[in-house]
Amino acid sequence: MTEQSVTQQGVNHLVVVGNGMVGHRLVSTLRARDGDGTWQITVLGEESRPAYDRVALSSYVDGASEQDLRLDDAGLQDDPLVTHHLGDAVVEVDPGGRRVTTASGRTLGYDALVFATGSYAFVPPVTGRELPGCFVYRTLDDLDAITEAAAAAVATTAPGRRSAVVVGGGLLGLEAARALRLLGLSPQVVEVAPWLMPVQVDARGGALLHRLVSEQGIAVRTGVSLTGIVRDRDRLVATLSDGVELDADVVVFAAGIRAADGPARACGLPVGPRGGVLVDDRCRTADEHVWAIGECAALEGRTYGLVAPGYAMAEVVADRLLGGSARMRPEQLDTSTRLKLLGVDVAGFGDAHAATEGALEVVVDDPVAGTYAKLVVAPPSSTGDASTLLGGVLVGDASRYGALRPLMGAPLPADPVALISTGGAEPDASALPDSAQICSCNAVTKGDLCAAIDGGAHDVPALKACTRAGTTCGSCVPALTRILQQQGVELSTALCAHFDHSRAELFEIVAGAGITSFSALLSRYGRGRGCEVCKPVVASILASLGTGHVLDGEQASLQDTNDHFLANLQRNGTYSVVPRIAGGEVTPAGLIVIGEVARDFGLYTKITGGQRIDLFGARVDDLPAIWRRLVDAGFESGHAYGKSLRTVKSCVGSAWCRYGVQDSVAMAVELELRYRGLRSPHKLKSGVSGCARECAEARSKDFGVIATEQGWNLYVGGNGGFTPRHAELLVSDVDSATLIRTIDRFLMFYIRTADRLQRTAPWIESLDGGLDHLRSVIVDDALGICADLDAAMQRHVGSYADEWAGVLDDPEKLSRFVSFVNAPDAPDPTIRFVPERGQAIPAPAPVLLGVPEVSAR
């Protein structure tokens, strides 16, 4: 089969081999810049999926979907000048005839050919490497296969821990180990070098890294290599060079990568000394029609295993194809890396190993705090100039990476020791030259960002959209915020027109100044009368701090209508009633009472998605009588109306289930009763599963608990809703007391610092340092606030009282539950029902809009 390139006059045909990150960047850049349509493009990709973000590959195991990882190709899909043939690798290139042939036998002519074939995983030539259960870690297909094998291993009932061996202790190996742990296996990392991440980190940093990684439940063996793998019944046994044998269900090779230069070699194109298609600084091979970019290219002999240099190469080739004269610049070949996983922060940049002649090393090593920092500097010149930064290593705390890396090659603004010691000088963005690269993934300099800010990009999303900074690994986002601030852009965190403060600031003000009413807060810190935004926020803050019944005094006027009537407003003005059914556990007698109440008040009844029962269609004037019956039968408010704890779902757990390893129902009930009524920035949901089968869907909850043989794993930051997110592991194998203490702190810290209507997932994301920072605050007490958080939760637990019982006991509060102040028993005539499947539902709403004024009859 030969496909004629249907090129018109003046239109050239470009064939891109490889649809990875860099190939994709080339095509999107070229299409964006080739306004006249001078290039028709065909992409031939070996992988059958659309291009995706390989850098974020590991998040696939955390629950990101293929769709989440997909690179933006909206503009390319219906572009008539772009054709993709996926799942069809190029097997042969004929430079003389300017033709390529694919595995399926497709032949295409070209005017220009770009290799963007990336790398393949290197698998050391040990015996047994082909056995089932052995994998590499490079593509989504690899991860699907690993996930399947891990799930099969976890599901077996054979005794012993399910484990995995990772070959290679570099960046990839540690990412793979973390993924395997998330999949329920105990990973062991084998690294032939004397320390972990030998490329980026020096020996002392590596030793600390070893300790920190081991503390995260990952076994590490350095200085040994894998010598062979054999199958032993249904498991694998990996033998190491020191004779140790490791049992494994899964073996993952992450021992390095090799440039995918096969077709280029085969057609006689020169390759680099360590592989890779040899190109010059224009990214052109020895053949003037053939280019190579990304990991498969050996730029002036050297390959680069990071995406940023690849993107820069794509931009150069796009420019060249359009007649430009771009060349690769040395600063675009930055191989700095920051890795943040397993709760361990690591960064290496520039000349991390102090290979430069005469370089000096400045080290701050704090084994107690678990941090190590080193700067490599060129000695100050005799004229007394400041030293120049050449590189550095940060382990345990790499928060200064974003500030330090752009200083590379520049004179240091402060004493190097001060720059890396705790509490030392923080280099600020204004010290950076315009040429300093802020986003290394996308080669965006401070100058580019400032130009974009001048052009009107006044917040982080706008900067991302127009410069691409921050859109890849995200580690430069805090720097973007700093540069915005430094350019004089006010990033408003004002709650609304009445308060200039954010919710978190108001919380601190209310708590710190002991303010107990909205009017006092408004007169001292706000203006006007307030509105539907700030009133409920302040009501929630006051309630979190425990200032009595939510309908007491002025507080009653702040509550959203749901909280005001302690029920959920429905579209026809009636309310729904949700009694608490902690953990989803309910007695037959309780069920009968609910059934009777629903029958007697004509309420529509439905089982909710939260394992309890919702009674719909209650008139506001019936609410007290309905609740009198429910409270008398031992029920209490389920807070379905509040921004507060909703439900703690449970699975049946060890009490009944043959797989259960802990009593998940008892734990769910305990948690639900502990946190009931706790007002928070947004609603809170939880679940407890009795084993890793996860029947309670705990990982889709704000805090989810999964039983283990040893205790409990706590996951945080999950939700369903608009943007579903899986919760991430915060602590593992803890006992019940530790579990509850950790959740106490998690919730109180969230309540104090989150924004209005910000659920836990975006809140964790917004913390500088994310989940690791959260862990350091609530597990390691890095801010020294844990005692406060514990005490605050203790106050909540001690002062909890059922809100509905409080209303029933108070004639004044009860008097508000009337249809009309002057006709308390007259039913609201606008409420009408129609029957549906044996129950009553609201009659369709009258059509009211479209008339300029609506009279109230």
């Binding site: 509105c531 407003l569 508000r816 009309f820 606008t830 300029p852």
Partner: protein, 126 residues
């Protein structure tokens, strides 16, 4: 002239319309400052509001966007100084003084005449 009689034919007077008599609906005390309550005036549902500074306002109680009688249950506040109430269903904001919807120029709630006399809240009738 004032009357304490509620008749099914009573019609509340729109703001600006002549008032023929006044209907007492409740005591001022009965209205929580900063909150609303519904009253039935003849066949018309009226949403009454008492602001923190004592000012009284009366609007139609039927939310024009949904047809539900819920306006009295909205949160009051201000927008650029203009006193407002937000519908509790979909949060459209209405001016308390004249019923204009500040989020949709084509929509308006009727505004009625209301006063406080001797500790009573009275709605003007046509």
């Amino acid at each position: 002239m004032t009357t304490r009689l509620d008749t099914p034919t009573a019609v509340p007077a729109r703001a600006g319309e002549a008032v023929s008599c006044w209907l007492t609906v409740c005591t001022v005390e009965r209205l929580l400052p900063g909150r609303g309550a519904a009253a039935l005036v003849g066949g018309t549902q009226v949403a009454l509001f008492r602001l923190a500074d004592g000012a009284l306002h009366a609007l139609g109680n039927i939310d024009p966007f949904t047809g539900a009688g819920v306006v009295s249950r909205g949160l009051v506040g201000d927008r650029d100084g203009e006193p407002t109430v937000a519908s509790p269903l979909h949060k459209q904001v209405f001016a308390l003084r004249d019923g204009r919807c500040l989020d949709d120029p084509d929509v308006r709630l009727p505004a009625f005449t209301v006063r406080a006399v001797g500790g009573d809240v009275q709605v003007g009738l046509r």
